[in-house]
Symmetry: C2
Subunit: 270 residues, 2 copies
């Protein structure tokens, strides 16, 4: 093994245990060795062993059960969401015919799952813009918005892969009454096609990415261990007339999500 002296020892132990879980040596549902056993077998202090277990919890690999010990979790669906490519792909797809648009969606794009592997949930409500949303849209506070709550989960898991609150100016989308009814979800071609039906073309999408602990509700909904973080993405869609037409707040569980962005650079010499 290559020496990695700059890594704390608890992390080296956590990585060894991760390798045992990934390789199947420690099987799904099995109890983890106790702190005492791990301290003896590794030669590390109880504190280091506890830090290693905490690290495994944060990676989503083990679950602590009050008073019973720590268990290896079932592997969970990971998301690698390549937003730079995804947004252009969604735009191109909005011009396809309905049959083609029905075949696949953004979540399938991110996960490699098929439409049949996924459960989809949508809830619509009309809400007045609070100060934050008014500011994001550059509209007066109180302007009526259509708020859409979405979550998608793998058929093999109860917890969703992400939770999204998407906001649209109500007057903008009311031009097509079909856009006001959650029964029409999942809409083939997604939001970019929905906007296309009311004459809107996107020019750019700005993503602001933050990390924070989950709220109590989010922890329960996403089924994440205490101490796992979430990625909070605010996605702002701007149309070709420079108007903000959608603002979405999307929360991803930090133990199984990566957001990927590619920046292509211009050549120095042409």
């Amino acid at each position: 093994m290559i020496p990695r002296d700059w890594r704390p020892r608890y992390l080296q132990l956590a990585e060894e245990l991760r390798a045992q879980i990934v390789s199947g040596k420690l099987v799904q549902g099995a109890a983890m060795p106790s702190e005492t056993e791990l301290a003896e077998s590794s030669g590390l202090s109880r504190t280091s062993v506890r830090n290693a277990i905490r690290q495994l919890r944060e990676w989503g690999l083990v679950r602590a059960e009050q008073g019973r010990g720590t268990y290896v979790r079932a592997p969970r669906q990971r998301i690698r969401r390549h937003n730079t490519e995804r947004y252009q792909w969604e735009k191109d797809r909005a011009l396809l015919d309905e049959g083609q648009r029905r075949k696949t969606g953004g979540t399938e794009h991110d996960t490699g799952l098929t439409v049949d592997d996924l459960k989809f949930h949508a809830e619509y409500a009309q809400v007045p813009a609070d100060d934050d949303m008014a500011n994001a849209f550059d509209l007066p506070t109180g302007t009526l918005l259509l708020r859409r709550l979405y979550w998608t989960s793998s058929r093999h898991e109860s917890a969703p892969l992400s939770v999204s609150y998407s906001y649209l100016p109500y007057d903008l989308v009311a031009a097509n009454p079909e856009l006001l009814d959650a029964e029409n979800e999942p809409w083939p071609g997604g939001t970019q096609h929905q906007l296309f039906t009311v004459g809107v073309e996107l020019a750019r999408i700005v993503d602001e990415v933050r990390a924070r602990p989950p709220s109590p509700d989010e922890a329960e909904l996403l089924d994440i261990e205490p101490g796992v973080s979430v990625l909070a993405l605010r996605k702002t869609s701007i149309d070709i007339t420079d108007r903000v037409v959608e603002v979405a707040d999307i929360v991803f569980p930090g133990d199984r999500t990566e957001l990927v962005y590619t920046t292509d650079l211009k050549r120095w010499t042409t």
Copy 2:
């Protein structure tokens, strides 16, 4: 006030307290009202009050002192790092003369601070590539790398704004011995200019963004409250021959950092 019935009450209380801190009604260094006082004045349960205080800690606005209560923190320097623009800006800057390159750097770009407001720290080491780095560079495990640890802090704060481990293939940069000496940091024009001196031009940069709790060391170094998350960015720089030439792991405190990415979309009609 616009009704926001879908927000939990603890969050509404946390937002009211945040407004009082931001407006200066609750001043820096002052003790927060006790849980009992807040429960009485807000009419909420002790649980909701405790959740509101936890939320303020996670926002980095208050600090809990063991056995003494909760205090309003000094406001901390925020970073809004617009990576899509930053990377092209850094590339353009690599071709400027030294005087121009000395004037400003990436951190100033992100924070609005000047060179005089910032303290810069750099440490270099030679390390063999572990499996993760070997994989990231597509080089054999054990290949010698130059590892550079950077942190930058505002002169008004002890904790750094971010901590970065940057890795370069040792043989690549050894062609210019000045690149092996941390005494030459901060290098005017940064890594893209350093690479320019050994004939390397970047074609694209891929950012992978994750959220996780800090390690114990990171929490101490970044001076963040227990429960604050970090943004973990892996930045991979690829040159015009499609070779990975730098891999950097950068950790940002989640209570005061936003990463921003803009995706420009192609027009439907030309």
